[in-house]
Structures are given as structure tokens and as C-alpha cells.
């Protein structure tokens, strides 16, 4: 396969499509990191969203209701997780791991209950997320390929990152959100309720995971497969850390993950090993964190470990 211009458009398009579900969840992870919550349960929450999107889809045929169901279900799960983590002081790792196992089991269980199938559920009546119409670009093949088969939610993910940037760094509420991760005690001493903000952040990450899940089950394909997320929630956590919990940084980090996946798919071992390609972002996350922490330690700062 030659490196022609259309091929590049294809790669960029695929990168974008693979990136957005990760981005949505990674933004949730970033918000959690900002309030000192290590939310490893994102994987399970994403799976929840992916599943209930299809359930609502099947019964109502409405995209909007499907998205609402995805968000609502994942928010409910994350709220429970938040209560366990913040109010009951359960170890965040343990709660998160439990949520992942529980939802992995529950979604498959309910799939058999609702649809009577194992493994995967497809149905002709399922509607997928509407794609942005790019017929007007048909003339130029490059742009046609580049912007082809993208859903509104894909664009929304990027816009959301920008909105989140403004929220975090320009609004009072975002300012207080960030303060919790730095010194919850100091926030409490002025009368800002740290617990409330932390649970809020977890629920918000649930909302985004739900959307990310819906994008998986109603985006490129419209179906639910057992464990459809297959580690994307963890990938999103990595992207959240790699982007140092900064919304714009997270966009780049998620793109990196999307690109690595795309390259491993399309290059098919021609130039690079596809396996090493997939491993790269994880290694990069470790290296980036090491460098980040090292420079902070050098400056005499304290690393806040979750």
C-alpha cells in the first residue's frame, strides 16, 4: 500500500473515530484525577453505557433516548461507586475493580435476559448514531474520506474537551474542582464541601463514560458485544494521565492512542510491528509520568500519589 494522500486521509479518519470514545472517557478520568480520585471503574461504567444504549435503542428506536439511557445508567453506577469511595471511604482501587467485574457480568447477564442471546446482539431495527452528511465534499476525495462516516458525537467529544478546558480553568466552579485535588482540607476549612465535589466528579465521569460507551455500541457498528469495551476504559485512564488531566492534553493523548490503534490495524506489520504500535502509548504514559514527576521532585515539589 502506497502512502498516497487518500491513504493519509483514511488514517486520519480512522484515528479520529477510534480516538473519540477514548477521549470522552479520558476527560472523565481527567476530572476525577483533578479531585484526587483514581477511578479504575471507568471501564465498567463505559460498558454500562454501551449496553443500555442498545437496550433503549431496541425498545424505543430513538437515538436521543438511547443516549440518555447510556448516560443515566452509567451515572447511576458511578454514583454508587462514588458513595462507596467517598462516603464509605472504600479503597478506590477495590471499588473500581468491583464495579468492572460487576458490570462485565451484569451487562452480559442482562443481554441474555433481554435479548436471549449470548456473546453479541444485533438487530435490524437498531438505529445507529446519525452520521454527519459530507456529500457536499464528494468532489474532493481527500476531504470526503477524511470527514466520512463520522457521527455528531465524534465532533461533540472534541467540542466538549474545549468546553471542559474553559470550565476547569476559567470558571469559579472549575477552580474549586481543581482545588480539591490539591488540598481538600484547605477547601473544607473555607466551607467548600470537598466530598460533594468529589462525588460530583465521579458522577460526571460516569456520564462521559456512558456517552463513550454509546459511541462504541452505536457508532461504527450498532450492536452490543460481550465486553465490547475490551480495556478502552483503562486506555482512557492512561490517556487521562498522559494528558496530565488537562482537557487539551487529553485530546492529544487520546489521539495518540487512536493513531496507535489505527496504525496497528492498517499497516499490518508492513513498516512497524502492529503489536509494538499498540504497546507504545502505554509505555509512553509511563515514561511521560516519570519525566513529569522527576522534574517536579527536582524542583522540590511533592508528588500527590493517588
Amino acid at each position: 500500500m502506497a502512502l498516497d494522500i487518500e491513504f493519509i486521509a483514511h488514517i486520519l479518519n480512522s484515528t479520529f473515530r477510534l480516538m473519540t470514545p477514548i477521549l470522552l472517557v479520558a476527560l472523565g478520568s481527567a476530572v476525577c484525577n483533578r479531585v484526587f480520585i483514581f477511578n479504575i471503574g471507568l471501564e465498567g461504567m463505559m460498558l454500562t453505557g454501551a449496553f443500555f444504549a442498545i437496550v433503549a435503542n431496541y425498545y424505543t428506536g430513538s437515538v436521543l433516548i438511547s443516549l440518555l439511557a447510556a448516560m443515566g445508567s452509567a451515572m447511576f453506577v458511578s454514583w454508587i461507586a462514588g458513595i462507596f469511595m467517598v462516603k464509605f471511604k472504600g479503597a478506590m482501587l477495590v471499588v473500581g475493580i468491583s464495579v468492572n467485574v460487576l458490570m462485565l457480568g451484569a451487562t452480559t447477564f442482562l443481554m441474555q435476559l433481554f435479548f436471549g442471546v449470548k456473546g453479541a446482539f444485533v438487530h435490524k431495527d437498531l438505529v445507529s448514531l446519525p452520521k454527519v452528511n459530507v456529500e457536499f465534499l464528494k468532489g474532493t476525495k481527500f476531504f470526503y474520506t477524511l470527514f466520512g462516516s463520522l457521527t455528531y458525537l465524534d465532533y461533540f467529544a472534541v467540542i466538549l474537551a474545549i468546553i471542559l478546558y474553559f470550565y476547569m480553568f476559567k470558571t469559579v466552579s472549575g477552580f474549586r474542582l481543581r482545588s480539591i485535588g490539591i488540598n481538600k482540607e484547605a477547601a473544607n476549612s473555607i466551607g467548600v464541601d470537598g466530598d460533594k465535589i468529589q462525588i460530583g466528579a465521579i458522577v460526571f465521569s460516569g456520564l462521559l463514560s456512558g456517552l463513550g460507551g454509546a459511541l462504541l455500541s452505536m457508532g461504527a457498528v450498532t450492536m452490543f458485544v460481550q465486553n465490547i469495551t475490551s480495556g478502552r476504559g483503562f486506555m482512557a485512564m492512561a490517556a487521562g494521565s498522559l494528558g496530565s488531566a488537562h482537557p487539551i492534553g487529553v485530546v492529544f493523548a487520546s489521539t495518540f492512542f487512536g493513531l496507535a490503534q489505527t496504525l496497528s490495524n492498517v499497516l499490518d506489520n508492513q513498516f512497524l510491528s502492529s503489536e509494538l504500535m499498540i504497546a507504545t502509548p502505554y509505555v509512553a504514559t509511563i515514561v511521560a509520568l516519570a519525566i513529569f514527576n522527576y522534574s517536579k521532585i527536582k524542583k522540590g515539589g511533592k508528588i500527590t500519589n493517588i
Binding site: 476559567k170 469559579v172 477552580f175 488540598n183 466551607g191 467548600v192 511533592k302
Partner: protein, 501 residues
């Protein structure tokens, strides 16, 4: 009268922290609240700032009764507190820290420009200049405290409580802070200063309220009093026990030579020269926070000193490891038994062998002989009359006095020639206290050396054959049991100078 606190009682379980305390404050006045550790000053102020709820009592502001149920309601009423441990966001800027909780807001966004200007104006108004864009991380302590003060002023407070504000400051910073306080009072702010440094009180305050064991024991105008009178009121009556039988002292077991520790440019230990001989108990008198903790940690290999030497039994152990110091014959009863002295969830046996579980007696080839350890623990329990069901129960199930007895038993059990005991009877009942004191005398009779650190002057005077007085990391005086007198020691440990006596 501007602020009035009436008949404040506060108890924690059985302990009465405040007993019928009255306090009043005029506008623009600096009131110093003085007393020893545990006298109840901080509790009283926590009640005022809403961090603690009084058991009973009333608070009036401008003649009206007010109810304060949390810091935010205190702030609303115009009461602010500069806490001893700064409550700052280290990676935020000065501006962000100061406006926190009452941020100026545009239609949608945080109005940073206005916040910044507000901070600059505020700094100008109170003559407390600060770079509004500097990040807290990397700022010197004095400036951080300035941020705290501005933070309180930004909330439009009329009453500012300072909780031991000078403990962490360099001398220059202290001078600066005292100037700031005077300045603030001139501008109409009322200030309550919690401290036990009497020279600062003399310099800055208008009036002082002295507390002892939870009660108000004196209320004096500064112009009518002096350090001597105040220290006498604070410390109260302590009787030097001259009856204790003397033990003949032997060779020196511990010696520090010009021991100096500087932390962040603040001098924590300043050329400390002390020694302990076999057969004597040497007390270090001083208000806690004057370098005693660091002295212990430096001797014991937990902290590296900046210069100077630590000699144990003739060997130089300066800046080595805890294990080495222990092996050279030093044992330590740390000041905080729950944090440093024991593992709450560990069994009594596990707690009893810490520090020497590696000795041949307890372990061979990497295997611990728990039978021996268990027997050993039973012996300690019996000898020290620790009230416990068996040695398998957890440390957390013991009462404070009993766990302290076990810790002391553990540290004495190795017959080390030099024992450091830090606050050995803090928070234990009278019976346990008596028992512990007798055990320390027994150890002394065995011709071992003991270094006793205690903020209880009574304890120091009762046990010590010799006393060093520490103030701000320096040894200010030395007394023997014969020459010790409580008035003079109290005077020195509160910042007086020897030649003024």
C-alpha cells in the same frame, strides 16, 4: 464591648478542656491568649472559629448573641483565623489562594483580572505587599503566612485569630509579623494571639489572658505586668522534689557536641551541647515546639543534622541509621505513642519486639521465634502490670496508659545504657504515671542514663537530676536538682534571658 465569650465549657469525654472561661475583646485591641501546652487556649479559639462546638456557654458579637456552627458561619460574622498549619493550595497562585471561597465572578467566568486587582489593593491597604502571580510552592514560610493573613482580610473579617503564628518563622519574619499585627490593630481590626512566647506578648499585646488547665487564671494589662509575673501565672506551682535519693553517676553515655540543625533556613537546633551520665536522669524543659522533637530525631538517626556530633558510649553515631544507634545501646520512647510508638492493628507481641526482633534472642536464620517473643511479651505485661487479656490482642484494644506502659516496657527491656523518653506520661492516668515514673527511677538505679523530654514542668522537676532548658533550639540554661527552681526555669523556657533573672 465588641466580642464577648461567656462561661464557655468544653469537654472531650472526661477531659474538661475549657472550664467556665470568659473572654472579651475590644475593637482594635490585641489580646494575647497565653498558657502552657494543653491549657485550653486552642480549644477556646476553635470554639470561636466554629471548628469545635462548646459544651455550654454563649458568644456575643456587638451585644447580640451569635451561634457559630462552622468556619463558614464564623467567617460570615467577621471572624477569621490564621491557622498554625497553613491551609493553602500549593500549586495555586497567591491571588487564587486569597480569593478562594469568595471569587469575583463575571457573567460566566472567574474574573481573574478583578481578583488580581483586589489582591493588589488589599496588599496596599494593609501594607502587606505580595506578588499576586507567585505560586505558593517555593515561597518562604513568612510569605505564605502573609498569604494566610490576606486571605483572612479578604473575607472582611474584623477579628483575626493567630494560632501560634511565630513557631515556624525566622527572627526577621517574626519582627515583620509583629509589626503587621500592630498595624492591623491600628486599622481597627481586633486580634487574638495564641502563643506561649512571652517576649512577643510583651512587645505586641495590649492585654493578656492567662490560662492554665482549662481555666482562666489571670487577666492583665500588659503595661501593668512583666514576663516574670506572666510565666509564674502560666506555669503555676511546681515543687522540686529534693527528697529523691541520689545515685552515683558513672561515665558519660551520651553527648552532643555543637549539634546544629537548620531546616529551610530556620534554625531548629543551635549548637546544642548536652550530655547524660550513667545513673542520672537529665530533663529537657521547654514548651513543645522548641526543638525537642528534632533533637530526639537527630540523636536517634531519624534526621540528619547540619553540623555537630552525636556520641554514644564514646562512639560517633552522627547521621547514621536508627538500627546502628539502637545497636550502640540507645532506646527511645517516642513522644507520640500512636503514630511513632506502636502499630494499632498489630498484636501486643508484634508491638513488643519492634527494634530488636533481629537479635539472636528472638530470631535465627531469618526466622522469628514467636514462642520466645510471646513469652517475652508476657513477661513485659506482667512486670509492667499492663492490663491485657493476652498477648494476641491488638494494641488498639489497650487503654492509653496501658499501651504507653507496654511501649516503655519494650524500650527498657533491652537494658540499653541510654534511654530517651519523650512525653512519657502524656494522656495517661495518674496511676500509670506514678508507675512509669518509678520504672524510670529503677532504670536510673541500674546505672543507666536517661534523657527525659517533657512539656510538663512538674514531671521534669520531679524526675530530673539535671535540667536543661530549651528555647527556640538553644539550650538556655542548666540546673541541678539542688539549684533547680521552677520560677527561673519557667522564665527561661518562655523566652526570658538568664542575665535578666
Amino acid at each position: 464591648m465588641f466580642l464577648k465569650m461567656e462561661h464557655i465549657y468544653k469537654n472531650y469525654g472526661d477531659i474538661l478542656a475549657n472550664k467556665d472561661v470568659d473572654l472579651d475583646l475590644k475593637k482594635g485591641e490585641i489580646l494575647a491568649l497565653v498558657g502552657e501546652n494543653g491549657a485550653g487556649k486552642s480549644t477556646l479559639m476553635k470554639v470561636l472559629y466554629g471548628l469545635e462546638e462548646a459544651t455550654s456557654g454563649k458568644i456575643f458579637l456587638n451585644g447580640e448573641e451569635v451561634y457559630i456552627n462552622g468556619p463558614s458561619s464564623a467567617i460570615k460574622l467577621g471572624i477569621g483565623m490564621v491557622q498554625q498549619h497553613f491551609m493553602l493550595f500549593n500549586s495555586f497562585t497567591v491571588t487564587e489562594n486569597i480569593v478562594y471561597g469568595r471569587e469575583p465572578k463575571g457573567k460566566l467566568f472567574f474574573d481573574m483580572a478583578k481578583a488580581r486587582q483586589d489582591v493588589i489593593d488589599l496588599g496596599k491597604k494593609y501594607d502587606l505587599p505580595l506578588d499576586p502571580d507567585a505560586v505558593i510552592e517555593g515561597m518562604p514560610v513568612g510569605l505564605r503566612q502573609r498569604v494566610e493573613i490576606l486571605k483572612v482580610l479578604y473575607q472582611n473579617t474584623d477579628i483575626i485569630i493567630f494560632d501560634e503564628p511565630t513557631a515556624v518563622l525566622t527572627p526577621q519574619e517574626v519582627t515583620e509579623l509583629l509589626k503587621t499585627m500592630k498595624n492591623l490593630s491600628k486599622m481597627g481590626k481586633s486580634i487574638i494571639l495564641i502563643t506561649h512566647k512571652l517576649n512577643e506578648v510583651m512587645e505586641v499585646a495590649d492585654r493578656t489572658l492567662v490560662m492554665r488547665s482549662g481555666e482562666k487564671v489571670g487577666e492583665l494589662m500588659i503595661k501593668d505586668t512583666n514576663i516574670k509575673e506572666l510565666s509564674y501565672l502560666m506555669v503555676g506551682r511546681h515543687i522540686v522534689d529534693k527528697q529523691v535519693e541520689k545515685v552515683e553517676t558513672g561515665e558519660t553515655v551520651f553527648e552532643s557536641i555543637d549539634l546544629t540543625l537548620t531546616d529551610n533556613k530556620v534554625s531548629v537546633l543551635d549548637n546544642v551541647n548536652i550530655h547524660v551520665k550513667r545513673g542520672e536522669i537529665v530533663g529537657i524543659a521547654g514548651v513543645s515546639g522548641n526543638g525537642q522533637t528534632e533533637l530526639v530525631e537527630t540523636i536517634f538517626g531519624l534526621k540528619n543534622c547540619t553540623s555537630g556530633k552525636v556520641i554514644v558510649n564514646g562512639e560517633d553515631v552522627t547521621n547514621t541509621s536508627v538500627m546502628n544507634v539502637r545497636n550502640k545501646g540507645v532506646a527511645l520512647v517516642p513522644e507520640d505513642r500512636n503514630v511513632h510508638g506502636s502499630a494499632a492493628l498489630g498484636t501486643l507481641t508484634e508491638n513488643s519486639i519492634m527494634g530488636f526482633y533481629h537479635k539472636d534472642e528472638f530470631s535465627k536464620n531469618g526466622i522469628i521465634d514467636y514462642k520466645v517473643a510471646s513469652q517475652f511479651t508476657d513477661e513485659l505485661i506482667e512486670e509492667f502490670k499492663v492490663v491485657a487479656k493476652n498477648n494476641k490482642q491488638t494494641m488498639s484494644s489497650l487503654s492509653g496508659g496501658n499501651s504507653q506502659k507496654l511501649i516503655i516496657a519494650r524500650e527498657i527491656s533491652q537494658h540499653s545504657s541510654f534511654l530517651i523518653v519523650s512525653e512519657p506520661t502524656r494522656g495517661v492516668d495518674i496511676g500509670a504515671m506514678e508507675f512509669i515514673h518509678n520504672k524510670l527511677f529503677e532504670k536510673r538505679a541500674n546505672k543507666d542514663g536517661i534523657l527525659l523530654i517533657s512539656s510538663e514542668l512538674t514531671e521534669i522537676l520531679k524526675l530530673s537530676d539535671r535540667v536543661y532548658v530549651m528555647y527556640e533550639g538553644e539550650v538556655k540554661g542548666e540546673f541541678t536538682r539542688e539549684t533547680a527552681n521552677e520560677e527561673e526555669i519557667g522564665f527561661l523556657m518562655l523566652g526570658g534571658n538568664k542575665d535578666e533573672v
